[in-house]
Symmetry: C2
Subunit: 605 residues, 2 copies
């Protein structure tokens, strides 16, 4: 089994030069394809690439002098040769599979690396969790650059309860683990940064002092002084834009604009227009996925899908490839190692068939090894063993019952106006709406005539045991149904939503019994996806997880929930750093001009 | 006097954010100009910039909330606001003035920083010399990033005798001096790199291991395996290209292509066509000066001249500005500090009048201070004191006489064919030619009917005392004349050339008596430019040095030498790493397919 070792350049310049001279045979040669040169912005016919170990030694019109008896030769005639895709911002945990399975899923699709923010597992397990992800990533063929999570919890323990808390000292520690721990992860508490919160500013200082990048997440309008204050704090990239204006102002403030196409965050179509219509320079634009469900990896793809989508919006193919390769590498300062098919870089190379704009990846080379062909892995990856502490993370402090989801009213009977969370399909944000609901015996009841369900977040890290129940609009359930999940961004408490307390209790108990996962309970029965690693990920083959995740989606659909990739959107309803309204184990949280804060659930309460 | 301190970003993010919020008054505001946004590639009307200390806190349409009683407000209505220019490759010593005087000369022209390779003084004084340049640069308003010289001597002590020798250990030491020592300077022994010379590869390894950049100088044709071997060795930039093809292949190999317009190296006109005609992506193209004489700084300008020149070749103005700002900053990994007018960056800002394509700089802000207006410095710079060892560097081992320049022939009389160096106007390279010359009493004589002169390099560092005399074609002297100089790239020995042994001896003695400099001796008398610092630079005001340097040029012109910026070209005739033929204190050196080596002066000798 190849070890996929990536050798630092300073150790191998002599061998690379000797390979280019033809004195040492190349380990691998890609012969006679059409090169997508992202550094020159050209499409160059009849180019060959010679590889020595994990790095590229030669790129040019004739590599025959580098071919020896042992050299593996890959014929590229009639195919494109391009750099492997780099995801400029991605949470692997969102695909509900371990890093190894993620690598198996995305390598055949042409993704050979990325910039991963493991802030989901960090919210559950703290630095121990991040450390596991770093360790596992190093066993894969991916050029996996990891980030130290900045917002654990996403806001503060006053507003939500995570499994661990990260501050400037923890950030500084993680950034010392290696050059592959490359940045401070998205600083989601953007009001905190803008208004000088000491924890946020301290973490940024720690990252900058260590010579590392600070990555962003800013969700206010871009054209007043607030984005400037955010940029002035040293944050140089953001993927939360949803409009062309968002893209433009990020670029103008010296930030990289990361355009996102997750399974359910369809931002590229709008944000790319800053380039395709307004003509802005694309060099600081990066295509990212942020979060992709396992079934969307299988059904749509990964960055191959996003690059194709960008081309369909009118981006020149070579420019779209730059946005998913070189631009990301430059954004993180690793352009001398990844992001182009040029000498000295790691040999992370893909071959594509058909037209370039089809983005039809047919072979993937990572760290100098052919790892996938025709959509399937050809290389075996070692298994990674997770320790016990990562496999027993659902720690409830009481038995869940239907009464857990009671919402007390200020009066015994009558009606109340309740603040509700409106789900917005294909977007990360929500809208705040008011609903009038009946009260019986001092409890707010649901009204079958309205599409209003209960949503409850239950602390599950063995800390407070607190929970809070609020209301959500737009699930669409047309019979008794509930969804329960320990994937509940970002504190990943146990989140339960539904129109039936019975179904809610059933789904929640099923998830708790499994030690984490996702469950849909309906009159039909229970559909379950077990996620034992931190309650977030499954170590099973990604194909199987995708099937089960798809089953969850189908169960939701049969229950009446017609949202695109519904689970992805619903799993964000506890992410209190997003506009406009979200729920945590501690309360209903809104965003205003100065930051985040609790808001009343019941009018006049 | 302002101290021009540049504060690390991690120390001031809180103040910058507070300034953007309007809670701390800005120290400086530039109000209501048209912003050249190099990060978005736009020209944006009605933009303002707020500065706090040395850094930018806010960029946007209204900075009025940041203006306090003490805030200096610069009105920019009707003017362009752009980032200060960064020279992507420059030897300050070539301007024959100290760093302080260089700063005085270029700041009013809009250059606020650069990437400086002090390999001239390093050849004379070793790391002590580089250390002086770094120390002096830190006292100026410039964002001066220095490089550790790689090729001292340019080839090896077998081929030439410098004042010091630099190897991997010295490189590693210099790269530890601070973040402003940013790279390994141009690795001119490109055959050594390509063929695995251990000193060259060791220096590159030392730089890469330290996380630093390795800069290049490659002068072979670009389209075979040799440039790939050079790039595979970890070198990511080169300024020696002279054709569009050179530019294209550097970009394709993942290198930054630095397009040079020195006083006498007019490469941009050809090299830029890779962008303007072939359409290659300009993001990795950087405009550089390499070497500019003091009088050309005064007469033509610095990067302002080069940017204007690029625009005249058909580059879009905003793209040309990117090539002299952001692209250089990205090339060296300091885009978070310099290269754009965006929050968090150093406030290195220029204002321009008229059309943008005129590149008419009227005000310069560096490190947050207004330092120049209307072409003149408005800020005083501290004087830098050079130590004695830097002021006594001309150490000849014998008295120079006319006999010093004798060239022995293999026979007593008759004629010989001698290998000669043909000077090429406005280019760094030379051509090799053969001349038939008369022999009298065993000595090769000059022939008044041919434009052939003698050229002699005399070791002047107090080491061997060796010298060698050869022949040069194309000086154009029409009466007895000679040029002597201790500026003789790169070993900076005492180089003397002329058609009269008497004039040669007179000029050489004058230079030696002054402790370094340049002298032209003709029938009219002696014209002298004294360069006491390392025999390379004058600490006198740059305006006066420019006058004296111009007088040298005029004396050469009156003697018949009509080359554009003749001295610049002639000072390179001992730079043995350039094609095709050069002379050192040890012999005549040529470049062949495998590298550098001595060649015979006299045919059949």
């Amino acid at each position: 089994m190849p070890d996929f070792e990536r050798t630092p350049l300073h150790e191998v310049t002599r061998e690379l030069a000797a390979t280019a001279r033809g004195e040492i045979p190349a380990t691998l040669v890609v012969r006679g394809g059409t090169l997508v040169s992202v550094t020159s912005g050209e499409i160059l016919p009849n180019m060959s690439v010679a590889v020595q170990g994990s790095r590229i030694a030669y790129v040019g019109s004739d590599a025959s002098h580098t071919v020896g008896d042992e050299t593996r030769v890959v014929e590229a005639e009639g195919r494109y040769i391009a750099p492997g895709f780099l995801d400029g911002h991605c949470h692997i945990e969102s695909s509900q599979i371990t890093v190894t399975q993620f690598a198996r899923a995305v390598l055949p699709l042409g993704t050979t690396g990325g910039f991963f923010d493991a802030h989901e597992i960090t919210n559950v397990l703290g630095l121990r969790g991040l450390r596991l992800m770093v360790a596992e990533a190093r066993t894969t063929p991916l050029a996996a650059y990891m980030q130290a999570a900045s917002c654990v919890p996403s806001t503060s323990t006053a507003l939500e309860t995570p499994g661990a808390v990260i501050g400037p000292e923890e950030v500084a520690e993680a950034l010392r683990w290696g050059e592959d721990v490359i940045a401070l992860g998205e600083v989601m508490n953007f009001p905190g940064v803008v208004f000088g919160d000491e924890k946020m500013q301290g973490e940024i200082s720690a990252a900058l002092r260590a010579g590392k990048i600070a990555d962003g997440h800013f969700a206010w309008p871009p054209d007043d002084w607030r984005l400037a204050a955010y940029a002035a704090s040293g944050i140089t990239g953001c993927h939360e834009g949803t409009t062309p204006k968002d893209t433009a102002w990020r670029l103008r403030q010296g930030m990289y604009a990361k355009l996102r196409r997750g399974s359910a965050w369809h931002d590229v179509e709008a944000t790319i227009r800053a380039h395709t219509e307004l003509g802005l320079d694309p060099r600081h634009i990066v295509l990212v996925t942020d979060d992709r469900s396992p079934e969307s990896l299988v059904e749509e793809g990964h960055l191959n899908f996003v690059v194709r989508h960008a081309i369909q919006q009118g981006v020149r193919p070579v420019t779209a490839f730059q946005m998913a390769t070189l631009n990301a590498a430059e954004r993180f300062g690793v352009w001398r190692d990844v992001g182009s098919v040029t000498p000295a870089r790691y040999a992370d190379i893909i071959l594509l068939d058909g037209n370039l704009s089809d983005v039809n990846v047919s072979l993937t080379i990572a760290a100098g090894e052919v790892v996938a062909e025709e959509g399937r892995m050809t290389a075996d990856l070692p298994a990674f063993e997770y320790p016990d502490y990562a496999l027993s993370t659902v720690k409830l402090r009481y038995e869940i019952s239907e009464e857990t989801f009671d919402v007390r009213a200020p009066s015994e009977n009558g009606r109340v106006r309740a603040r509700t969370i409106r789900v917005v399909e294909n977007h990360v944000e929500t809208k705040e709406e008011w609903a009038e609901l009946p009260v019986e015996n001092g409890l707010v009841r649901l009204d079958p005539g309205q599409d209003v369900a209960k949503i409850c977040v239950i602390e599950r890290h063995g800390k407070t045991g607190e929970h809070l129940t609020g209301f959500v609009v737009g699930l669409g359930f047309d019979g008794p149904a509930a969804l329960a999940t320990t994937v509940a961004h970002d504190s990943h408490n146990l989140m339960v939503m539904g129109n039936s307390e019975e179904m809610m209790a059933r789904a929640a108990r099923a998830v708790a019994d499994e030690g984490g996962g996702v469950a849909v309970a309906t009159g039909e029965g229970l559909t379950l996806l077990t996620l034992p690693v931190a309650g977030l990920m499954s170590p099973e083959p990604y194909e199987e997880v995708a099937e089960r995740s798809k089953a969850i989606g189908e169960a939701l659909l049969r229950a009446g929930c017609r949202l695109n990739y519904a689970f992805m959107t619903l799993s964000l309803l506890a992410l209190v750093v997003l506009p406009e309204l979200h729920v945590s184990d501690k309360g209903l949280v809104g965003v205003n001009e100065r930051g985040f804060g609790f808001v009343d659930l019941i009018e006049g309460d």
